[in-house]
Amino acid sequence: MNELFRFCKNLKEEHHSKKPFDKDKPVSFWSEKDLLNGTVVDAFVMILRTRGCTWALQSGCSMCGYFNDSALSSVSSDELMKQYTAAMEKYTGQPIVKIFTSGSFFDECEIPVSVRTKILLDLAEKTQKIVVESRPEYITDETLSDVTKLIRQKTLEVGIGLETSNDFIREHAINKGFVFDDYKKAAMLLKKYHCKVKTYVLVKPPFLSEEEALNDGISTIQAVASYSDTISLNPVNVQRRTVVEHLWRRRQYRPPWLWSVVEILKSTKNLVGTVRIQCDVTGGGSIRGAHNCRTCDTGVLTAIRMFSLSQDIHVFDDLSCGCKEQWLDQRNLESLGFGSCVDFSGEMR
């Protein structure tokens, strides 16, 4: 067994006291802005509480704490449908609906086929575009032929958390449990069924320096452009009971600089043609999320949000702040510290 696999697993087992969830209620739901055929529209988002990501139940990824929202015990079809119905009470006809599960929508251990069928049939009636997420192993010919029949002419977009095109990083820094080729096969299968592919690219997994993370982000975006309709850049935020949090608490991990995120967006946009690159900086500007300094975080986050909708890199033109020097120092000097220099935003000692 891979030692990182064991580490990710053990961190989850160490803390195991949790109050039981109300399985009739979804984790949350809200409305947000997104793009549909080049136009900014409202999107309705809901997160269902399933029994949890099958991979997370075995070990899980080094940065992912979404299992904290999962029931971690069986959730019946009835309960899932109650969650869906509860969320849909607030639905006001948004043309995009995103259904997330903190796992894989196509994993039948999380969402039984009957529930999946009911939800998709319902949404096909109500909305234009349906967005779900899945690990590649659940994206099969059988499932896709099944679900595409249900949604008829509506658009189905499937997000895949590839994180990086570098198999070594995915195995030794993320513990993702699949390889680049698995992603490629899944993406091609989605194309075959005329589904849209959204590829999640991680910025700064643990164990990588800022510079390494930045370079990996750039090369991953280039490598996945031909398989993707949308690339979603996800800077790591420190989630509970993860390897990332374990390190962050001990000052051995710093979430990525927003400057790195900007740099990745700027240097890849012109290389990916019509593929859309979006970036939602979860926890941006906080100590647990991607951040620069207190002074410039808000402005930079706004620019990133604007870019996600406009795809125009000129939104970054006027950004500047004194902390940019510290970021450049971090890129330049971090590896010379042999693990000592984790965060250049302040004094070292």
């Binding site: 120092d329 010379l336 693990g339 000592s340 250049f344």
Partner: protein, 614 residues
Amino acid sequence: MQFTVKKRDGPARIGELTIDQSIVTTPTILYVHTTRCTAPDFADMLLTNNIAKTQKPALKVLGSIFSKENVTANELTLSDYLLYPKDVPTQLHKDAFKHIDKKNAGCVIVPADPLLIPDITQDSTATIFIVANAAQLFSQQSAFISFIIQLREHIGYQKTIYLPCLGDPTNLAVFTYMGIDLFDSMAAVLAARNNIFLFSTGPYQKNDLSELPCSCPACTNAGNDPSKMGYPEILQHNNHGLYNELKQIRNAITQGQLRELVEIRVRAHPELTAVLRHLDSDHYPFLEERTSLIRKHPLIATTKEALTRPEVRRFQERVIHRYKKPKNAKILLLLPCSSKKPYSFSKSHNLFQQRLFGAKNPSVVHELIITSPLGVVPRELELIPPASSYDISVTGHWDEDEKHMIRTLLQTYLKKNKYETVIIHLPLGLAEFVTDLFVDPIITCTDKPTSEESLHNLSLALEKTTVSYDNIPVSIRVKENMKAIANFQFDEKAADILFNESEVRGKYPYWKLLSNKKQIGMITQERGFLSLTLDGAERLKQSGTYWVDIADDFILKGSLFAPGVKDADSLIRIGDEVVVTRNKLVCGVGVAQMNGTEMKESTKGEAVKLRHIA
């Protein structure tokens, strides 16, 4: 890449790191040299992350295994390494080794997990051991020290330890004293970025410096006005600060005075003082093994830590465990120390001894000097360093640590060494906290020990007490005294063998030990210890201690070099008198220049300076 130790002072060393055609003197600073940060001209060695255009030796850190740089490595290039943060499971760190190519590596990164040290160091051909996660490791000082010491004990004397990131002018001294050889200028860079000026007394914010106490070129060029100095100028100042301190440290090692410098420098930060105290209290054997018996300069004891320095503790432990008072000494005379050393060469001790030798039977009296930081020094040991040469700040006031130390030592000493009568000739402030340890002592000081009245009382007491014992000839007592030195220097068994059927001749302090008119050894004021002839060496060999065994085909010339040493007694310290044997036959005698373990381990350097060759 090769490393040779040239000079030693405790665990600290001055060494030579040979890299291709260049020789770098250690301890040294690897100056950061990148596109954003240029190393100063005076840098002897660089730390860089690109293919720097420089003729200077440079440690190059290229991409880790997570980056995609393809480079051809040489022994000073690190690439494709896999370094996890400090606090991941040990097994994950171990997993990382699988990805590291150990072959031809001149440098090895050691993650800050002590459980990994054996695996990483075993069979390693590397010369430089890089302490990873140093900043996180240092946040727990005692764990930090244990880690460095464990690493040193595993890699031995002939390798170097590189401590990245932490070195600044306040801590270079104490880190060097722990045995670290290589530092870098990262702290200087980061401080400069934050407008912090580094000095050996501590860091200062630019805005807090209303005057700039520095005349380095950077500060001079700015007209000594901190407000005119930005990142490049402050960095230049900080780089100078590191270099100055480095030179101070190397001088101190050469002079054998590093410990004194360390005791001054650790005042800058409480955690550095803690490092020194942990070192003394938790790692005495490590320090002691590496600490020379002989000194070039007086030991300066002006701090609390001086009480616990290894030279002092070793002296005390030998007095307690090895030393035995002369057999015929029945009356104990407690005396204060003198500022001039050795004591008998001082005015005050001259006065005391006039009174002592004016008595009828002085050979039954044993003088014991009560002092700080050594505690108790029997008169015969006054020539032995550090008793022969130390300096304290004399105020007549004794602090509680000193009182406790003196009382404890005296009590332990008296358990092993019994006297029938005790005369206390000590100043009142000192007598006050030792008198209760004795039954009916005679107290002779009324005011100062050198006053006419006190000296008169001393004479009367000596007169009165010595007559009740049989008269002991001086020659008998002198031999007992000299044997007491041998007890202290070697051990009781060796002393018995050396003094068997022998007599002592000569005028103190130049006593000669003879047997059948042939000299066995002699005491000199310069050394304080017993120096042996080949006949003496023959006797020492019989004791089974302080031996150095050389290879069968090795021919001895002026000095014995380490490659010739097959095995050596691990009791040997620098400055010890040792017997050199070949095939169990004595072939020389001389003074150890390394400790026994280092002699055995080393492939370079002078092991024994020979006095006589058979």
